[in-house]
Amino acid sequence: MLTIKDLRASIENEEILKGLSLDIKPGEVHAIMGPNGSGKSTLGNVLTGREAYKVTGGSVDFNGKNLFDLEPEERAREGLFLAFQYPVEIPGVSNMEFLKAAVDAHREHRGEDAISSVDFLKLARETCKEVDLDPSFLKRGVNEGFSGGEKKRNEILQMMLLKPTLCILDETDSGLDIDALQVVAKGVNAMRAEDRSFVVVTHYQRLLNYIVPDKVHVLAGGRIVKTGGKELAEELEAKGYSWVEEEVA
């Protein structure tokens, strides 16, 4: 599904990713943990093509395609999805029109016609229910005035509507109350499939009780410095990161 080899990337001439490698197979769930500022969000941004980030080395293969040959919107239509750590607010653009534009762009890419407004409204409302978001949020500006947790649920709503093949969740659990955490986990688990993979970036082992990962990685200093099974998350929770960093040093 996704093969990252020796990826180097910088922002404002400061190298953040320093030779990161990662291989994700279809159907797998990978968790990435790591200290603040280690480059976890940078990885998501680089993969989805955010402009300010410069790739200075390495390669990324996404389902047989060189990811860096694709524009951000093409990557999305090919099935790459990032649930943002800090979703942006876009007043004046309604959530509804945004979601429909996104869904239609994916449909067009697959050679399908735009979904009818009636069908979409129905679909959007049902999906809202699944993430426990009141349908009135469809009428508001994109993320406008949403609470932290509502923004995160709106990200999951988008993921459910777009049905990507690779979903990167960047701290989707931060700022969620316990019920919302379960809603998100339930949504993710419902979407788990043989041909769909997840990268779950988190600081807390708790989420991984609900979304059980196949692999857990520690990202530190711009590289994956340790990989293990789900028990690694428990170990990190108990002991912090310093022992990993010492091991590597």
């Binding site: 524009e71 919107e73 509804m96 945004f98």
Partner: protein, 436 residues
């Protein structure tokens, strides 16, 4: 004296001059003669070239034309409609039955003449506003009076449409509205300046004077969507009495010359102004909004929000003046002006001008000039939306924030798709915009 000043005076001489308008016309002409012609050094006109007025020879009044009817789209609303074509009243296109509160100057009763005499040319300060002096000099029977008596209400909005059409020679039109709301009265007035999409050759001078009485409320909309060759200078001048409320909304496309002044005087305590505006010049167009809010007495509020998107080689000017006089304690005044430049050749001159002489006031102002928000662009693209469509969505979103708040749904419904259409001629890129 400039050529245009000379021509304008001659034009005044060609008009009928009813007795009851003689005084305002005479003082207007005198003031027009006295007013120095603005140059680049005239502060209020610094960025606003009047050269297009000087380039043509205006030697006649524009006459009413026909054949425009199926080329102008009206707003769809239940309203009293009055239509003027090139400044001249068009009875066929207007409602035949008018409510008692609304009258064309020429059809006014003696009582209404008295109201006109009391207010016309007296709300506006024509020493400060040269084109208001001209409007006075040009005053004619083709003006509109709205006079709502104490605690009365206009049962329907008044919808005034000013249609411009080309006449083959440079010609002028004068458009005049006087709104007088007595204590506790309420009204909603929409002024729609439209033209056929032909290349226009005229000059329009429009002036609206408003007196909002104690506790009265006026909603006023001014929509300028004329073709880009029309020259238009306009002004809205309002006095707000105690606890009066004026809620204004305006939108303008650009043209060779488009200048609109809002002069709002808070004359009575507790008066409130809400004013929102949108300007969208493109190509080589120009548009200039000058607002001037005078807080003369305590406990008044004003809230102004203007947004512009300037494209191509267009040029916009926004000048927002707030003057808080010495006695105007407890004033709350806010002014925000945000601009999006969508091309490297687009230009905006924005200037908030604050003069505060009272110490216990709250006054916030801000002006920004930027490009489309990169984070928002990326967010939309990261969901598969193309760059082009994302640009259209964000541009429209930027003005939609103001359109959403427009109280009269018919104004919103009319403007939203038309303004969105400015951002792309490709329907596919507009298909997801929601106009509600």
């Amino acid at each position: 004296m400039s050529d245009f000043q000379q021509q304008a005076l001659q034009l005044a001489g060609q008009q009928d001059n009813p007795d009851w308008l003689a005084q305002v016309r005479k003082t207007g002409a005198q003031q027009w003669l006295k007013s120095p012609w603005p140059t680049r050094k005239t502060e209020n006109w610094k960025y606003t070239p009047l050269a297009p007025l000087q380039r043509s020879e205006f030697q006649q009044w524009a006459a009413k034309t026909s054949g425009w009817q199926d080329r102008i789209e009206f707003l769809e609303l239940d309203a009293t409609r009055l239509v003027f074509v090139n400044g001249e009243f068009d009875a066929d296109a207007s409602d035949s039955e008018l409510p008692a509160e609304v009258v064309r100057f020429g059809d006014a009763t003696a009582d209404q003449h008295a109201v006109i005499a009391e207010h016309l040319g007296h709300i506006v300060d024509s020493e400060q506003h040269l084109f208001a002096a001209l409007s006075n000099a040009w005053a004619s029977e083709d003006g509109v009076l709205v006079h709502v008596p104490k605690n009365g209400e206009l049962s329907k909005p008044l919808y005034i449409v000013h249609v411009s059409t080309p006449t083959g020679v440079p010609a002028t039109a004068n458009q005049r509205l006087l709104v007088v709301l007595e204590t506790g009265a309420r009204a909603s007035v929409i002024e729609h300046f439209a033209s056929t999409d032909d290349e226009q050759d005229g000059f329009v001078n429009s002036l609206t004077e408003v007196n909002v009485g104690e506790n009265a409320e006026l909603r006023h909309y001014r929509i300028n969507l004329e073709e880009e060759n029309l020259l238009h200078v306009g002004g809205i001048h309002a006095n707000l009495q105690r606890s009066a409320r004026l809620r204004g909304f305006t939108v303008s496309l650009g043209s060779k010359l488009k200048r609109i002044d809002y002069q709002i005087n808070h004359c009575g305590e507790g008066a409130h102004l809400d004013l929102q505006g949108v300007y969208l010049p493109k190509n080589k167009q120009f548009v200039d909004y000058h607002t001037n809010v005078q807080h003369k007495v305590p406990h008044c509020t004003s809230n102004e929000v203007f947004r512009g998107i300037i494209s191509d080689s267009a040029h916009a000017v926004f000048n927002g003046r707030i003057h808080i006089h010495k006695d105007a304690q407890k004033t709350l005044a806010e002014l925000s002006n945000k601009n999006l430049l969508t091309s490297s050749k687009a230009e905006i001159d924005t200037k908030p001008e604050l003069e505060i002489y009272a110490d216990d006031v709250k006054c916030a102002h801000g002006a920004t000039v930027s490009q489309l928000n990169k984070d928002a662009m990326y967010y939309l693209q990261a969901r598969g939306i193309s760059r082009d469509e994302a640009q259209v969505m964000l541009s429209f979103g930027f003005i939609n924030e103001l359109l959403q708040d427009v109280a009269e749904p018919a104004v919103r419904d009319y403007l939203a798709p038309r303004l969105a259409g400015l951002f792309s001629s490709n329907k596919e890129l507009l298909q997801h915009l929601q106009y509600e």
